[in-house]
Symmetry: C2
Subunit: 250 residues, 2 copies
DNA sequence: TCCTGTTTCAAACAAATTTTTGAAACGGAT
DNA sequence: ATCCGTTTCAAAAATTTGTTTGAAACAGGA
């Protein structure tokens, strides 16, 4: 009989399963990820997943924990040395780390891709991964942006500028294939990442400088001039009511 | 016996199936989308999908075709009137259309979300949807950006600026949940879309203006100053070899 | 060596999902 | 009214995929 189901990262098999699971879940997400493919890649028996992790969901959880731990070590986006630099350089360093995570080829972070799947079709683990992985990064970036925008910037100004900046690398979390298809010349440049870092840092800083100038010119409001009016934004979710099948989806 | 399996959009049932399928596939993608949920939502029998579309894959194909046709009509991003405006206004209009597609609540385009799923975990339909849906939009945007950057801009300059601009709305194709979690104040503003349009247009134009100034100041090269060096970018795909199960995935 | 707890394995099992089937309902034309 | 092609339906097969099982292999210590 299995000890309790609850195991973590002791045996060599369990370790190989975690690595293979990271790959598979990164590629296809939780629901579409096949545990048969995982055990094949890990050279393990089908029952190993249940023995070591108590099931597919347990393996997923363990994989997330495993990856989160590794990501913190391998791609630090914060450090005392960084904090000592001017905000422009802090931003540049931040951009580099993020782009390496997303475009860094074999070194790219599977966790990022899993987060992408969770964003599109969340599982119960969504909240946890958002809080543990994304929030710290956003918080750090918000600090940098606030420095760049200066004291006149409102919270919303900072939020908007943070979004615009981050989106320029978050794009590659999803859009790598689109990038390669639409801009093949750029995408095949061996220096892509460097050129992207340069460009994103340059244009983000330029945009924020312009915003700062606007804010410091007009002392009254902080919202840019409006032109048109109406909008809305809500959307349905998959109801947990309607006694349907298992709720592997949120 | 089914006529041939090949049907399109004649019967009322087939139409309802298409609508329900658009919703389901937009939410969960092809693989995770359940045909049982589709027929339930459409008030049709389980066998109807096979009768009318020859199977789940046929329904998916038909849904894509159906949505592509509708998207062209409902959210035009190009027109003679638009072309007559100054490029700044063209960009603003473009941003608005795209944000409405992604954040427009019930009016948001299911096709966009399906594209998102395809980007993350492509099916054989990926090429078709990229070519038919995305490419025209990118091409139009590239034109606008080229106008804004002026004649000194190289192809790569245009590509980079296009990416930076587009990424600011493409973000919301995937990141809506993140947006809501990280910037709740902004996300619940009833005027979000308008504020985002204003901000994205403003900061994109500011960034491009800065790039243009840089280009026109230094006549020689067109690449911004470098700082660090190395990088790479490749990644494995799921091999079609290794006689595995059906290749619903690419 | 023998015992004991752990790990691996092939096969069976179970649950969920897609596909098929054969009959019934339907609707218009003869 | 009857015929015939089309469409719908409930039920059953087939497939895919996660889980369980019972035995065998393994490892370390009495």
């Amino acid at each position: 009989m299995p000890p309790n189901g609850r195991a973590g990262e002791d045996g060599a098999t369990a370790q190989r399963l975690l690595d293979a699971a990271a790959h598979e879940f990164a590629l296809h997400g939780f629901q579409a990820g096949r545990i048969r493919d995982i055990v094949d890649a890990a050279g393990a028996n089908l029952a190993a997943v249940n023995y070591h992790f108590g099931g597919k969901e347990g393996l997923y959880q363990a994989t997330l924990a495993h990856l989160a731990r590794r990501a913190r070590d391998e791609w630090p986006f914060d450090s005392p040395e960084l904090r000592a630099m001017p905000p422009e350089d802090q931003l540049r360093a931040f951009v580099r780390v993020m782009l390496m995570r997303y475009l860094g080829g074999p070194k790219a972070s599977p966790l990022s891709r899993i987060l992408a799947h969770e964003l599109l079709d969340p599982t119960p683990a969504f909240g946890q991964i958002l809080k543990g992985v994304s929030q710290p990064q956003w918080a750090r970036l918000v600090q940098i942006v606030r420095d760049l925008l200066g004291p006149r910037a409102s919270e919303d100004d900072v939020s908007l500028a943070t979004l615009s900046t981050a989106s320029q690398w978050v794009f590659f979390l999803f859009g790598r294939r689109m990038f390669e298809a639409v801009f093949p010349a750029l995408a095949t440049d061996p220096d892509v990442v460097d050129r992207l870092v340069d460009h994103i840092a340059f244009s983000s800083i330029a945009a924020m400088r312009a915003t700062r100038e606007r804010l410091e010119a007009a002392p009254a409001t902080s919202r840019p001039p409006r032109r048109r009016a109406p909008a809305e934004g809500t959307e349905k979710r998959r109801g947990t009511a309607k006694g349907e099948a298992k709720d592997r989806r949120i």
